[in-house]
């Protein structure tokens, strides 16, 4: 659908549906060329950073879990790792495995939600998963079943599914028995079969053409497809520890947004999330997941953000396979947590939230009180990259009418599953053509 573009126009979306939370977007087009593109999101993490000062070192896992209903575990894990770094505590062995398993549960839930309820309707020209149920009810039923298994696993380890309460600095309050985990195995096996079907479903979609060249940043672990820990690396040569994050990444205030824009110092925009992880850690996928990716033609060099839906499906299959291995090898630890020795210091922790790298930093006084907190969520790190994708998308499709362009722009944003409730609430989209 092409027609001669008016010399100048503004696109506005009063409300961008199917992203988590609220925000606004404005695209200006002047004489057929895309000018300013602004994604404007509010940022509760900034409020939480202030709110955490004066609190005890033990409180951030529970408090920061409240930042997001979709990825509370990510906030808990980055918070724990940062505080443990400050206290010189290292959580290993089965406690670390349980954390990975808890995180796997969150990835299942979050990815399945995004794939089916937020993103998939776009590929069928539908407005919602409710409409999707009208044309492919089994796919929606399967999504609910998968999500429920993720939910139940979260409950089993985290104590409850929304804002888990069983996580603490040093480990857990209570650990599951081997029998409890083994009893869950059949559900995970069922989930694995369903996830393989999801890869087939989304692998066969038609994807709009869009190639991006952002620097890709993700964690990298010696043996695992990194989620819980690892070095922070990029395809631009970055290879650093969590502690070095502030030296390499800067957050800048931009006028149009209450969120800060992150940049790699002296280089600029970068991307975190599924595409980055997949590119940098393809060789760490389980065989089952790598084979499933291969079967639908997804390769490590994929740089089309619209295909991130396929990466999420492959990652879902991968974490289920990883979860099964953790369950099989589980041996109930002697203690549910390691005792911390309270002391002052600064700690850093980065983990892979479903949407990408999530970095926390805490400064503790000698008596274990937080004097400074920094939380950098994936969505604010991706903000500049999303704006860049929008510029490319709108420029490449400038002949479309405003309505078509607005729809395409929304999908371009949704590719990155912006967790705007981490970063905000509803999104308004404005396109100005002059």
């Amino acid at each position: 659908m092409t027609h001669k573009a008016k010399p100048s126009r503004t696109l506005t979306t009063e409300e961008l549906a199917r992203v988590e939370g609220e925000g606004a977007m404005r695209v200006e087009i002047h004489e057929g060329t895309v000018g300013r593109v602004e994604l404007n999101i509010y940022e509760p993490p900034r409020f939480f950073e202030g709110f955490l000062r004066g609190r005890r070192y033990s409180e951030p896992p529970d408090i920061t879990a409240r930042i997001c209903g979709i990825c509370p575990v990510a906030y808990q894990m980055s918070a724990c790792r940062a505080i443990e770094d400050a206290l010189g505590l290292e959580v290993n062995g089965q406690l670390r495995e349980l954390r990975r398993l808890l995180y796997c549960a969150e990835w299942i839930e979050s990815h399945i939600l995004h794939i089916h309820f937020l993103h998939l309707p776009d590929f069928f020209g539908l407005d919602s998963a409710i409409d999707l149920a009208g044309i492919n009810r089994p796919a929606v039923e399967r999504a609910l079943a998968l999500k429920k298994i993720g939910n139940e696993l979260l409950e089993l380890i985290g104590g409850r599914a929304i804002h888990p309460i069983n996580v603490q600095v040093g480990g857990f309050y209570k650990v599951p028995t081997r029998r409890e985990l083994l009893a869950f195995r059949p559900k995970l096996e069922h989930a694995r079969d369903m996830a393989a079907e999801v890869v087939e479903l989304v692998g066969g979609l038609d994807f709009p053409e869009l190639e991006v060249d952002h620097e890709m940043v993700a964690l990298r672990h010696p043996t695992e497809y990194a989620i819980l820990d690892g070095r922070i690396i990029s395809d631009g040569g970055l290879d650093i520890t969590d502690q070095e994050y502030p030296e390499h990444f800067v957050e800048e205030h931009v006028e149009h947004s209450t969120a800060l824009h992150s940049r790699i110092r002296a280089r600029g925009t970068y991307l975190v999330g599924p595409l980055a992880r997949f590119r940098l850690n393809f060789d760490r996928l389980t065989t089952v997941a790598a084979d499933a990716a291969g079967a639908v033609g997804l390769t490590a060099d994929c740089s089309n953000p619209f295909r991130s839906i396929v990466v999420r499906a492959v990652e879902t299959l991968d974490v289920i396979e990883v979860g099964l291995a953790i369950v099989d090898a589980y041996d109930e630890p002697d203690r549910p947590y390691l005792e911390a020795t309270i002391g002052g210091g600064t700690g850093h922790g980065a983990t892979e939230a479903p949407r990408g790298l999530l970095y926390h930093r805490y400064k503790l006084s000698d008596d274990g009180v937080i004097t400074d907190a920094v939380i950098t969520p994936p969505t604010s790190q991706n903000q500049a990259a999303i704006e860049d994708d929008l510029t490319r998308y709108v420029q490449a499709n400038i002949g479309l009418d405003d309505e078509e362009l607005r729809k395409g722009a929304e999908v371009t944003i949704r590719n990155h599953d912006p967790c705007i409730s981490c970063a905000t609430h509803f999104l308004d989209l404005t396109v100005v053509r002059t």
């Binding site: 409300e15 409020f47 709110f51 209903g69 039923e141």
Partner: protein
């Protein structure tokens, strides 16, 4: 499965948006015949929570233009949902989507009742406003009575 569920939705770090959770927590000990859940309003979780139930009661902060502390009771499918309710709070849309999703998959409860409480303040921070605090006992009593009438 217990066939009555009470679901408090909201965010306890957004002032009066925590009213749904506060009311649901108070009801936990008062109505042992019902499951009480605290959710964030995400549609698929709502559908999972109420699927197969005889009665589901959802408690949420809702802006309908009335004074803070006003309690609205709406039976979904029977009472019209006032247009002013829509999209004023980020999880209102979640509730509407959940009802539509439940309908599409035949997973809505026999009776679905929404209690909406008018908030005074939804800004960042802990704690309820005085107006909402004052409305809580009446709301809790009304919900408990409704559940007892069904379970009796």
């Amino acid at each position: 499965m217990i066939d009555v569920v009470i679901i408090g939705i909201g965010n306890t770090y957004r002032g009066d948006d925590g009213v749904g959770h506060a009311a649901a927590e108070a009801l936990m000990t008062m109505v042992p015949d019902a499951d009480v859940l605290l959710l964030d309003g995400e549609p698929t979780r709502l559908v999972d929570a109420w699927a197969g139930r005889r009665l589901a009661i959802v408690l949420d902060a809702v802006r309908g233009g009335d004074p803070p502390g006003t309690v609205h009771r709406i039976q979904v499918g029977v009472d019209p949902i006032p247009a002013t309710f829509a999209h004023l709070s980020s999880h209102r849309a979640g509730l509407e989507s959940a009802v539509a999703l439940g309908r599409a998959l035949d997973r809505n409860p026999g009776v679905l009742v929404v209690y909406g409480i008018e908030p005074a303040d939804l800004s960042d921070g802990h704690g309820l406003s005085r107006a909402v605090e004052l409305a809580l006992p009446g709301l809790i009593h009304q919900v408990a009575e409704e559940v007892r009438a069904v379970c009796a």
